[in-house]
């Protein structure tokens, strides 16, 4: 299937330049006023995604990953949300856009896959009904045609006997099949941006791999932009071209995935890497958990939000970590790798202190340096 962007089914004006990123988020801030105070869910977040590329957003629960992507679809209740900054989908501003215009975007040029397909699918409607409903909202077709389309989509995402399963209810599907159906539902209108919010979290490992493969295949086929939200660095390593690490509602590290995974410069990212159990590796390597709890978004810590949990605070002179919020700026590795940290020599600390503990096999025993293959990673190569 070709994606001819000059013919937009939603009738929106074509963007000035098709090579521009499909999604540009600039200075996005999301706040929820509650009885207990103002929840600062996302603060000053900027990123962009091009067609055919994948952005991975990584972070703990409550780090603002899902909130920021729901904002792209305008899914926050405007009465209970304060939004500022800018989100441009295909050149069109989303923040402040009318409900009517947002509805034309939702499920059409931007679609979303949710975490737990069992609760995200309506329990009382058949899979086919739910997929064809999405198709009929954005296309003037008969029920029969929409159902045919639903069967075609189920077949495309690898559901066996799709013309029979189309009349099944979600509870009659297995977990993996439900997630496939969810993907079919999201892709029914050939979206140019697909946001997958923890698409594999509720699945068992073998099914996870299948779903990730499927997502990759479909992206190649449709050339869509993909945002994958996860707390699993493995998923990011597998799928994402660029990676953004979020903490306490802010981006703390952002760059090419390979670069972020091999030369992380922010202690929180080190912590995430240290928390991954390695199946094939040395069984004696310790899993290093990040101590403490995610920060409260009602009363975020002064200075760097990570400082109460950061084991490297004492390496920064003075009270900088506790008093001053570090800016998101390029570190030692060039313009395209930005991080939010006061540490002056993160590369050294990572190689000398962190890596030997979390992955000693990545250290060359003779030189005490990172092995050559890792060290050779080009920070600008996506």
């Amino acid at each position: 299937m070709s994606t001819d962007i000059s013919q937009r089914p939603d009738g929106m004006a074509a963007p000035a330049n098709p090579d521009d990123p499909f999604l540009v988020v600039d200075g996005l801030t999301v706040k929820f006023p509650t009885h207990d105070g103002l929840v600062q869910a996302v603060t000053d977040l900027s990123y962009s995604v091009e067609r055919g590329k994948t952005l991975g957003i990584v972070g703990e629960s409550g780090s603002g990953k899902s909130v920021s992507s729901m904002a792209v679809l305008g899914l926050h209740d405007p009465k209970h949300t304060r939004l500022s900054g800018s989100i441009r989908v295909d050149g069109q501003e989303v923040i402040g856009a009318s409900e009517d215009r947002m509805r034309k975007v939702r499920g059409n040029s931007v679609a979303m896959i949710f975490q737990d397909a069992l609760t995200a699918l309506h329990p009382f409607y058949t899979i086919g009904d739910q997929i064809s409903e999405g198709y009929r909202i954005h296309h003037r077709v008969s029920k029969g045609e929409a159902k045919k389309r639903a069967i075609e989509m189920l077949d495309r995402v690898g559901i066996p006997q799709p013309n029979r399963r189309v009349d099944d209810y979600p509870h009659q599907f297995s977990g993996g099949m439900r997630q496939r159906a969810m993907i079919a539902m999201a892709l029914v209108n050939d979206p140019q941006l697909l946001i997958a919010d923890e698409p594999t979290t509720a699945l068992d490992v073998t099914v996870q791999a299948q779903i990730l493969d499927l997502l990759q295949d479909l992206q190649r086929e449709f050339n869509s932009a993909v945002i994958i939200i996860t707390h699993d660095l493995g998923v990011v390593a597998e799928l994402a071209d660029t990676t953004m690490v979020m903490y306490g509602g802010r981006a703390v590290e952002y760059g090419a995935t390979r670069e972020i995974l091999t030369h992380p410069e922010m202690p929180y990212t080190w912590g995430l890497l240290g928390s991954i159990p390695e199946v094939a590796g040395d069984a004696n390597v310790r899993l290093v958990p990040i101590p403490g709890n995610p920060p409260s978004l009602l009363n975020p810590p002064e200075g760097c939000a990570f400082h109460p949990r950061c084991p490297h605070v004492d390496k920064v002179p003075g009270d900088l970590c506790r008093t001053t919020l570090p800016a998101l700026v390029p570190g030692d590795r060039g313009e395209n790798h930005v991080k939010r940290c006061h540490l002056a020599n993160p590369g050294e600390i990572y190689t000398e202190e962190v890596l030997p503990e979390i992955a000693p096999d990545l250290i060359d025993p003779t030189t005490g340096e990172m092995i050559a293959e890792l060290a050779a990673v080009d920070p600008d190569e996506v």
């Binding site: 975007v105 939702r106 309506h122």
Partner: protein, 336 residues
């Protein structure tokens, strides 16, 4: 499915049989020989000579065992009875025989058939009104939750619920029917003869029943809707680009309505068993009023027991229907 229905049907029948035994013991045995004494005094101007009492007791079966009495009574329901004793006379009572009404001298079943259309009309009209109104108001309140409209609805529904029902009915009758003559006639007019007249006469009772009861349904529906609206599948629907009203009235209501229907089924059964206040105040000749009349001394035990038995059967049947309906409303419930 069939297996489930058969099993449920069998338990329902068992419940009905047990209820009938309970009703029989309560109304025919528990009162001792007072029914015979009453009949005797009625026939002999307040005096009751011992030989006459003995003969009446024999006619009424007081000299036989409980089991034998029950069998005669229960068999009569299916096969009918001949020569049923009532007030010094023998009556023929074809099946289904629930005895002879002392008030009219007719068979109880004959009277029941006559009274039933009124109660049925009242119940169907009133119940559909409160279900539809309640669900619509509740959904709208959920949609506008937190706004003054929502608070007004919840608040006024609390006020209406806290006023005794008979007071509302009585005031409605006094003002709307007697004083201002907006509904000059309130009663049951046979629906087969002139449906228009039936509608005009029944409108006030329907309104009173509908408006007072819809508040409970509005609050219940609102609660269910608010809960459903926070479900993940509602967010999915919005993310697909579904219109807000369609999200509300298709996706959310479809899920929220199931428990509402369950409660409604049971409520409706109680309504079918007669609404004494409504029928009495609006002079509707239905089951409730009939049962009330039967309570005057001397009590018309056959009528009372029949009203109780029929009501309990209706509740049992409604329970069964709700269970079966559930499997159609919620595809996850498989009752194989």
């Amino acid at each position: 499915m069939t297996g489930f229905i058969v099993r449920r049907l069998l338990t329902s029948i068992l419940v009905v049989i047990l209820t009938s035994m309970f009703v029989f013991v309560l109304f025919f045995k528990g009162l001792g020989d007072s029914p015979a004494r009453n009949a005797c005094e009625k026939l002999h101007n307040g005096r009751c000579p011992a030989p006459v009492l003995a003969s009446i007791k024999h006619e009424m079966g007081f000299d036989r065992s409980l089991a034998s009495n029950y069998t005669t009574w229960a068999k009569g329901i299916f096969a009918g009875r001949s020569n049923v004793y009532s007030d010094g006379k023998g009556y023929n009572c074809p099946a289904p025989c629930f005895g002879i009404s002392q008030m009219t001298g007719n068979t109880v079943w004959g009277d029941l058939k006559q009274k039933y259309p009124a109660t049925m009309t009242l119940a169907v009209g009133g119940a559909s009104m409160y279900l539809v109104l309640g669900v619509i108001l509740g959904s709208l309140a959920a949609r506008w939750r937190g706004t003054p409209a929502d608070r007004l609805l919840v608040g006024s529904s609390l006020i209406v619920s806290s006023i005794p029902y008979y007071l509302v009915a009585l005031l409605a009758w006094i003002y709307l029917s007697l004083q201002f003559q907006i509904f000059p006639n309130t009663s049951y007019y046979p629906i087969t003869q002139n449906p228009g007249k039936t509608f005009a006469w029944m409108l006030l009772p329907w309104l009173v029943l509908g408006l007072t009861n819809c508040t409970t349904y509005a609050r219940f529906t609102r609660g269910q809707m608010v809960e459903t609206l926070s479900e993940d599948f509602i967010r999915t629907a919005s993310a697909k680009g579904v219109r807000t009203n369609r999200v509300l009235f298709k996706h959310a209501l479809r899920a929220a309505i199931v428990p509402v229907i369950t409660i409604f089924g049971l409520d409706f059964a109680t309504l079918l068993a007669g609404t004494i206040f409504t029928e009495q105040i609006f002079s509707i000749d239905g089951i409730g009023r009939w049962g009330l009349a039967a309570l005057q001394t001397p009590m018309d035990l056959n009528v009372i027991s029949t009203v109780v038995l029929v009501s309990s059967i209706l509740v049992v049947v409604a329970n069964l229907l709700v269970d079966i309906l559930y499997s159609f409303l919620d595809p996850r419930v498989s009752i194989a």
